[in-house]
């Protein structure tokens, strides 16, 4: 029996030595240590060993068993490590290969710039209101101090739906609605689509404006300047400067055109600003007292400023978009660029 055990031990150790995979090692375990394995069979034979030899044989049996188990465990560990290493090696990928991912969408550049402008004015206590796109002549013109036959109507080419119903030519149309609804202090911006019957290389019959209106007991051109300077510096860059030029709009008096230092060259003069260092971006002024009175706000007590500018123009400056028409073609190769 002793010889038998030695033989099993030798066979087992040899089998362990030969085995190369965890599957083979498991076979070895079953063959020698399993329920009907060779070692088990030997152990069953222990019953027939004379009583006095039993302790020695038992001891030997255990020694053999431990030797096999020890060798087996060591080999299993080694094989598992080798197999892990082999798997990791096999799993190597080319990390430079293009990834699979879900495409991220984009907001339209006009929306992006609109949001950015809104954020700037929200921080200055402005609220956002949106008005109608098809508007009555009353709100689009008359309450803004542009009666019928006023020469200022020439300034804007208006689309008509009916005699007294127009596509709003300016977001200013919402001014009157706001003023008729609430009393000062008023601080509102209103973005939106506007319409002019003007269609050439540099004009689109549909574009977007941002209107601003602030009314309180003591609003000055200084406040208008400060507010617009804050906007321009946050929108373009901290060193942006402002220049006001006298102009005319029926609903403001005094009226100004506002230029900012060129966003590209910071005022030095470049192609974008045609060498002037300045870019015209908006019209503004002190709300005409006649407009306040027509809209139920006491012009003796209150004053205000208003401004309006084209969102497309700001977007085109910001992104260097050469042609306003690109904004309305909606080519995905154009739209995909605005994922900033």
């Amino acid at each position: 029996m002793k010889e038998q055990m030695e033989l099993i031990k030798a066979k087992a150790l040899e089998a362990i030595e030969k085995a190369e995979t965890s599957v083979e090692l498991n076979d070895v375990r079953v063959r020698f240590l399993g329920k009907s394995g060779e070692m088990t069979n030997v152990m069953k034979g222990l019953a027939t060993v004379p009583k006095e030899e039993k302790p020695a044989m038992g001891k030997l049996l255990n020694e053999v068993r431990f030797a096999i188990e020890g060798a087996l465990d060591a080999k299993i560990k080694a094989v598992a490590e080798a197999e892990k290493q082999a798997r990791l090696k096999a799993e190597t990928v080319d990390v430079t290969f293009p990834a699979t991912f879900k495409k991220v969408g984009t907001l339209h550049p006009v929306t992006k710039v609109k949001n950015q402008i809104e954020d700037i004015f929200l921080q200055m206590g402005f609220s956002v209101e949106e008005g109608r796109e098809i508007e009555s002549d009353l709100f689009n013109f008359q309450l803004l101090n542009v009666p019928k036959d006023h020469p200022a109507r020439e300034m804007q080419d208006t689309f008509y739906c009916a005699d007294d119903i127009v596509l709003r030519t300016q977001t200013s149309a919402i001014q009157a609605r706001i003023m008729l609804e609430k009393q000062p202090p008023i601080r509102v911006i209103s973005p939106g689509m506007v319409f002019r019957s003007d269609d050439d290389a540099s004009h689109s019959p549909v574009f977007h404006q941002m209107e601003g209106l602030a009314i309180d007991e003591h609003i000055t051109i200084g406040d208008l300047t400060g507010c617009l300077l804050t906007f321009a510096q946050k929108m373009f860059s901290e060193d942006t400067q402002l220049r006001l030029r006298p102009s005319y709009f029926p609903f403001t008096e005094p009226s100004v055109e506002v230029d900012v230092t060129c966003a590209m060259c910071h005022g030095k003069g470049c192609k974008l600003c045609k060498g002037t260092g300045w870019m015209e971006i908006l019209g503004a002024g002190i709300v005409n007292p006649a407009v306040l009175d027509m809209c139920g706000i006491d012009s003796k007590k209150y004053s205000g400023f208003a401004f309006g500018f084209g969102i497309e123009r700001i977007a085109m400056i910001k992104y260097g978009i050469p042609n306003i028409k690109l904004l309305y073609e909606n080519d995905v190769r154009f739209l995909n660029q605005f994922n900033d």
Binding site: L107, D149, P151, M155, F159, Y160, C161, T225
Partner: protein, 796 residues
């Protein structure tokens, strides 16, 4: 407004460059759109002297000339019959002519030519612009003219013209003289008035003509003067060149004088031939309906009753303020003229001019508005020019029919009030002095100032106007920026609807869609594209009265059409796939034609195409959007003409229809010129906004293991899986936390018009770990619901 600087200089001394002048004008509110240098209308054209002329060896009609251009000699081949010794204008190699044509050295029939002899056309001038030249001939200079000098300058074609943008509140500045007054303000200097100086030969204008103004609302003032023994001849070079420089064609001395006064003073004038005024009468009256008049341009105009005409005793002789009649204009043999200098109501002139499609310098000027001071000044200035040019004998007196008007308006104000508008310190003496420079004199009565506004400044009506006059001259650069120094704080913020739209947009962007914006108006053919039936509500699109063209002539009632156009644009522009959305209004009229403002409804359109896109891709976008909005969509088969009948659905939230989703009908897709399958959805943002749940509360969830069971049942083909899921959801099944369908299978074994639907259920309990026994009963209940409601059988 074109303003030659030489003309401005008649009234104001200008000692700065045109560029500096332009900047100064801009700073006080007059945009200078362009500075036009006459001498730069062509380049590298110099004075040359022909030294030698020889016949061209290879061409009978050509000559080879040697020309001395001061700095040297050049050879020029020409077909002009020039002779030696003549001084001419020659374009050198590299010259650019007025029409943009470039002159380059080259060979003409084998002989080198280094330039070209020039006529007036080549330099962009006419015989009205320069003296002593002939039409259709080359430019010739007198003997002794400096050679090599700029030919345009030598000709005196060297004025600088400012193109000034005059704002609508300053109609008075559409004249050289009033603009000169502003130049004087800008340059801090004085302005001279155009001279009034003539003598009359006695008589009385009323012996020649009688004026009867029958509508003084449309004609608040009508002045008439008479000139007899008129001689008609071409105007002087000065008048002709000035008129031509501002874009007016010189005609003869009398017509030129009326146009000169229009440009100089801003007062439109007209001259009638007295012989043509029947009864020696001028009647200013409304036209009779259907009355006809042939104007000076030869056009026959049919008048309506709201138009104003100038008539004689029997017939109309002019359309008031617009154009004179062919029957009464100045002719070569005219001997007595009646000058008209009138004020017509601007709105009346505008309407008439529009209705007749007749725009003239006169009507344009009247439309902008003419003040009461100009009529008298204008007619006196015209008579001064008659005298200056010896054009006739001036009859004594004027006829002047006018309504009452205030000659001077007073505005009382304080410096404090001005400060409150402009926001900077205002010194009283600075204020008074600036206003005085602008021709506004003030009385200082200690506590306040009273400004006297003359009638030519109709735009100044209140303190804000005074503030503007002050600050535009004082300079906006004096104002320091402040940020609501004297104002109350305001809350600010966006309203719930705007925030909702922002949220929808952000959600769609995160799903990989690009936002688009398209025009709010479209072609009426959209109805055809969408195959709409005649009575379909969507066909009721508001038409524009004055569209840019048919393609942009109706306000859209649906976004789907625009979305399809955008998808098609991308397909035809080589983009393999697109996933787009737009949030915009549609316009729903209450009635057509429009009598009141229409409803504007905000909509969301989604559009997709591409190799991996199908119905469930676009439905998936909606589902994911709804997930982000925490609302649940239900779908029912839709039947819309423009959607695929088998692949389109109505979308419901809380039982309310919010829109549609589906594949475009192939017939509609074809209209957009593409074969691709287009997937679209259009949902009402307004309705979704009302349906979103704005309050969220925590719901407990099980911490124990979940159990999952699958079930495959066979049902009839037309059974909607969504209905099956809804039925189970609503069946009060215990422990059921989630259910979905994951497969549909059809085969012969299952049977014709049958399908097998594989459903998956997830169970969990808040109290403990579930056992099979807990679930078996619930699965049986599920099966019995499916059997009862849908005739479902367990798939064997």
């Amino acid at each position: 407004m074109l303003a030659p600087i030489s003309w401005l200089k008649d009234y104001v001394d200008i000692n700065v460059s045109p560029e500096v002048l332009a900047k100064k004008l801009v700073s006080i509110g007059f945009e200078v759109e362009e500075i036009i240098y006459q001498e730069k209308s062509a380049s590298k054209i110099v004075v040359g002297k022909i030294i030698e002329v020889e016949k061209h060896p290879n061409a009978d009609r050509l000559r080879v000339t040697q020309i001395d251009i001061g700095s040297g000699r050049i050879q020029v081949v020409t077909n002009v019959p020039v002779v030696g010794g003549e001084t001419i204008a020659v374009a050198l190699d590299g010259a650019v002519l007025a029409d943009g044509h470039k002159i380059v050295k080259g060979e003409l029939r084998g002989v080198v030519s280094e330039g070209m002899l020039c006529g007036l056309e080549e330099i962009g001038a006419t015989i009205d612009d320069v003296e002593g030249q002939n039409k259709d001939d080359i430019i010739r200079f007198p003997e002794g003219t400096a050679l090599g000098a700029n030919a345009l300058k030598t000709l005196g074609f060297d004025d600088v013209i400012l193109d000034v943008g005059v704002t609508a509140n300053r109609p008075d500045c559409n004249s050289i003289y009033k603009l000169a007054k502003e130049v004087a303000v800008a340059l801090k200097t004085d302005c001279r008035e155009p001279e009034i100086n003539y003598s009359t030969v006695g008589g009385d204008v009323s012996d020649f003509v009688a004026v009867d103004v029958q509508n003084n609302e449309l004609c608040p003032r009508y002045m008439a003067g008479a000139v007899k023994n008129v001689k008609i001849f071409p105007s002087s070079h000065k008048i002709k060149s000035r008129l031509h420089a501002v874009g007016i064609r010189p005609i003869n001395n009398i017509v030129d004088i009326t146009n000169y006064v229009l440009t100089e003073i801003g007062q439109p004038m007209h001259a009638f031939d007295l012989r043509d005024l029947d009864g020696g009468r001028i009647v200013v009256r409304n036209a009779h309906a259907g009355e006809e008049i042939v104007t000076l341009d030869g056009k026959k105009n049919t008048m309506t009753e709201n138009m104003l005409v100038i008539a004689d005793a029997s017939r109309p002789v002019a359309i008031a303020g617009v154009m004179g009649g062919e029957n009464s204009g100045v002719k070569d043999d005219t001997t007595t003229i009646i000058f008209e200098s009138a004020k017509f109501l601007n709105s009346s002139i505008r309407r008439t001019s529009r209705a007749l499609a007749l725009r003239t310098d006169s009507s344009a000027r009247f439309e902008k508005g003419i003040d009461f001071a100009s009529q008298e000044y204008g007619i006196k200035r015209a008579l001064t020019l008659i005298a200056e040019t010896n054009s006739g004998e001036i009859v004594d007196g004027f006829i002047d029919c006018k309504v009452e008007y205030a000659q001077v308006r007073d505005i009382e104000f304080t410096t404090k009030q001005i400060e409150r508008i402009v926001g900077c310190k205002v010194l009283k003496r600075t204020l008074i002095s600036i206003l005085s420079r602008l021709g506004i004199e003030c009385d200082d009565n200690g506590t306040s100032l009273v400004a006297h506004i003359r009638e030519d400044r109709e735009d100044i009506v209140g303190i804000n106007d005074i503030a503007e006059e002050f600050i535009r001259v004082y300079g906006y650069s004096h104002i320091k920026p402040t940020l609501f120094e004297y104002s109350k704080l305001t809350k600010g913020g966006k309203n719930a609807k705007i925030l909702f739209v922002d949220r929808v947009k952000d959600a769609l962007v995160s799903l990989g869609l690009n936002e688009t914006i398209s025009y709010a108006f479209t072609t009426p053919k959209f109805a055809q594209a969408l195959q709409l039936d005649e009575g379909d509500k969507l066909c009721e699109a508001i038409p524009l009265v004055n569209p840019l063209g048919e393609a942009l002539s109706v306000m859209r009632t649906t976004l789907t059409h625009s979305m399809c156009e955008t998808l098609a644009f991308n397909i035809t522009h080589f983009n393999k796939e697109a996933a787009l959305f737009e949030i915009s209004n549609v316009y729903i009229p209450k009635a057509l034609p429009l009598t009141e403002l229409p409803d504007e409804e905000q909509r969301l359109a989604i559009g997709l195409y591409g190799a991996d896109v199908d119905f469930f891709t676009v439905k998936g976008v909606i589902e994911e959007l709804f997930e982000k909005l925490s609302i649940e969509g239900k779908y029912q088969r839709a039947s819309l003409n423009y959607l695929h009948p088998g692949r389109s659905a109505e979308v419901y939230v809380n039982g309310i229809l919010v829109g549609h989703v589906g594949e475009m009908h192939p017939d509609s897709a074809k209209f957009y010129g593409v074969d691709n399958r287009l997937y679209v959805a259009e949902l009402s943002i307004d309705r979704l906004f009302e349906l979103i749940n704005t309050t969220k509360t925590f719901k407990p969830f099980s911490k124990f293991p979940t159990m999952e069971r699958d079930l495959a049942v066979v049902v009839d083909e037309e059974v909607a899986v969504g209905d099956m899921l809804d039925a189970v959801s609503g069946g009060k099944i215990k422990y059921l936390t989630d259910l979905t369908a994951f497969d549909t299978y059809r085969s012969d074994a299952i049977g014709k018009d049958k399908k097998s639907v594989a459903l998956s259920f997830t169970f969990a309990s808040l109290e403990g770990t579930l056992k099979d026994d807990d679930i078996n009963g619930e699965m049986n209940r599920i099966l019995s619901i499916l059997k009862r409601r849908f005739g479902a059988k367990i798939r064997g």
